[in-house]
Amino acid sequence: MFRRRRSAQDFAEEIKAHLELEADDLESEGLSADEARWRARREFGNIRAAQERFYMKGRWAWLDKMWRDLRFGFRSLRQSPGFAATAILTLALGIGANTAVFSVMNAVLLKSLPVADPDRVVYLRTTNPPHGTGTVNSTETISYPVYDALRQQVRGLSPVMAYVPLSGSKVAVRIGAQPEEAEGDMVSGTFFSGLGVNLPRGRGFTEQDETNHAPIAVISYNYWTRRFARDPAVLGRTLYVNSLPMTIVGVSAEGFEGVEDGGSTDFWIPLQNRPELNAWGAPPEDGKTYIANPTWWCLRMIGRLAPGVTRAQAIAQLQPVFQTAAYVGLGSPPKNTKPPVLSFVDAKGFAGNDDVYGKPLRMLMAMVGLVLLIALMNVVMLLLARNATRQREFSLRQALGAGRGELLRQLLTESLILVAAGGALAWGFAVMATRLLGRWAQIESSLAPDKTVLLFTLAVLVCAALLFGVAPLRIALAGRAELALKTSAATSNADAGKSLTGRIIVALQMALCVVLLVGGGLLIRTLRNLENTPLGMNVDGLVVFGVKPNIPSIPEGVAFYVNLMNNLRVLPGVESVTVMEERIGSWWSDNSDMMVDGRLPDVASGASRTVRSNIAGPDFFRTLGVPILAGRDFADSDTASSPHVGIINEEFAKRFLPNQNPLGHTTGLDNGQYTMTIVGVVKNHKYRSIDEEPIPMAWYMYAQIPMVGPMHVEMRVHGEPLAILPAARKVVQQLDPNLPLIRPMTQRAQYDLTISHQTLFARLAGFFGVLAVVLVATGLYGTLAYRVNMRTAEIGVRMAVGAGRGQVVWMILKDSLLLTVAGVMMGVPLAMLVGRALASSLYGVKPLDAASYLLAVVGVAVVALAASALPAGRAASIDPMKALRTE
């Protein structure tokens, strides 16, 4: 269709044939051979003209024209390599940053779950769980009996699927001889079929498997690749989970790594009932696993809407069932309590991602949007500057007959070259950046740019190309043909040097720069504050790891830990050792109301009675370095047979036992269990995370409560904390060769993890702030330098008639100072808006933090002055004679 069937050569040959035929005819009419040839040629007329007409009609002509434009564009860009390099790099940085952040946003927020028909899939959410119920997450989890009731209701959701991790983090597995860790979930038998996840190898689970608690496992594609090198013989192999053998029966589809984000699930097993495989790896409570425990809301739920059922209908179906099931085994609900309510959340993206990453990511997207705006403005300014100096070239070309269309085409081609080069580079940057980001943010799901991202980037590129082509056209056309005849630089360039558009753009850029710097500054100060927040303990020298021993009975469990601690204490370099049920600084906490002296304490109306509790071993506070304000620490002498003792923090004492000596009072669970006598009060310190506020806390002694499960071991050592780990591992494996050390790390690193999002966010924001400054600086320098260049002749004249160097420098500086003032005036109010939007992400710094604003303003001013000083200096050193002779 687009290709002419005939080549120009074929056409030429036809003409040649014509000339011969004509000559033959003429010869036969009596002319001599020579004369015949001559006449034939003459009669034909202009052969070249005919060929040209043939050629111009050809469908390839436009392509050839474009090729010529491209070559011309390359040539003219090569003549100013500095300009080309700056423009391309600026574009690459601006667009690359956007592509990278967008691609993270796409992967984390916008991408659907990799399941069939994700629009029909919903997460189940609850509010107001019954009194006395423990939840893993107050809105996301329900109990097994409730799940069992819901899944009978097939007309609403079909099916309802439960899934629950085997551990809060990773679970001990073994494939060969060495113990290792992996992330595993227990799931309903309908999990794979209900979600519509393919299993290209092997099979998924059936409802039968769930009922029988079948010892089988499906592994993720990722785990199969990482751990088994995609060995096709993996089916049928045995995966020991907490020492229990599971046969691998399937490999899930590539890209499916569970329905919760943040981590990636390595394997799934059907819901189990063995105590070793309790939900979340928790020890059974009074011998009951999650299946038999109606007050432990621990299962996460996801469901698929039954065919032809709307959400509202499904909720209406399930709500009464849910509300009844919630109280099964708990008696009738007390009066004046709000009934539990079931609701659905879109499963289009990963649930929870939006809470964690949504706001920072949108903020970052806005920031890189501003960076892009600055970058685009920069390039536009560069183009304006460059094309203004080419005005005479354009005028000349117009005078020689080039149409506006041709000028536009040429400008568009040049911008196309710039944008294409910048875009290609940007894509490279983005791929690199997302890889780095993924590693940094510890997001295990793939962040790499995909088709959606490519479309986004292409859209940005097209806009940029059009903008760059059209913006300079005005200038190009403004120089009409007659301008070419005005040869004086002083006159023909004077207007361009003072272009209003240019001034507005520079001021705007500085405004945006102020905004970015303020935003970045606020976040970096937040990070500083977080990093410097006193934890209330001495974390240096602390190392922590988890162990998950096989515990047949409580005395044996206690004995295991006593042994372990004793063996660890004697290792060289170890100062003290203790254990705790929940690792501090890992976001985990056990929250409940607690009795004080046998009744729920009175609190001011509206105040919370919630207490965070943890279970700790001997020397707990001495090991952590938390000051004991009154009483004593836990000791080895606190055993199951000695009086049960507990320790509270300042906040507990202040809130529930005000103005009295807390020692000797008792506290315990609100159901009357686990009552203990307070023997110590410790200073408030950080428990879950760095940015938490003080909250009442209580500690049980591990050896005194009827529950022993996996624990975390905390060791205070001399020297490098991690250096003790090999020795510690040896000690653990002497007790049980199957036990890996679970997530060993320094306590400092553990706390840092709790601010990893803030850290990442602040660093990125800071980085983009700096990037904006660099872009603005180059843009400013480019524009100012160019303006001074434009005014070379004018400056020469001024100096020739007696202007001093100082006056010339001031003339140039005044100009950029004015622009800076204008930019700052615009930027500060904008920055205040941004600061307010950021408020919830800040810690220990106000949205109107004066220092951040001052720094931003000073930063922009310094950049502006520095960028003007050089051109100003150059202007002042102009030799008037030379300047006038540049004509």
């Binding site: 036809e14 044939a17 035929l21 005919a50 043939f54």
Partner: protein, 123 residues
């Protein structure tokens, strides 16, 4: 540079008439470009001057429209030549264009034949 001499007896072809003439010529059978030019010139009793360059561009245009098709062949006197022939679509076009032309000339005639005939040379 040689300038083209204009023979006063000849008339430069009107825009658009060349296509019709080409189609008409090819009704007689396949023919090469030079033959088409000669035929037109001869059949118009040397009144029409066919600009050869325009002829070939017109042939190409008709070929692109698929009214005619072309094939390299050998002429009567053993010269290589590109032979053109009518396509069915070309035939339809010929009929249509011919009747169009007839209507046009009739209308022109009607106007030019009424009133006083101008004496002397053509305007």
């Amino acid at each position: 540079m040689a300038t083209q001499e204009i023979n006063d007896d000849r008339i430069a072809l009107l825009q658009g008439t060349l296509d019709l003439l080409i189609l008409k010529t090819l009704v007689l059978g396949p023919c090469h470009g030079q033959g088409v030019a000669r035929l037109i010139q001869r059949q118009s009793e040397d009144v029409f001057l066919v600009d050869h360059g325009s002829l070939y561009v017109a042939l190409q245009r008709l070929e692109d429209k698929e009214w005619i098709r072309a094939k390299w062949g050998v002429s009567d006197n053993n010269r290589k030549a590109r032979f053109y022939s009518l396509t069915p679509r070309g035939r339809e076009q010929l009929v249509e264009k011919t009747s169009e032309w007839r209507r046009l000339t009739r209308a022109m005639g009607l106007i030019l034949d009424t009133g006083v005939e101008p004496q002397g040379e053509e305007a």
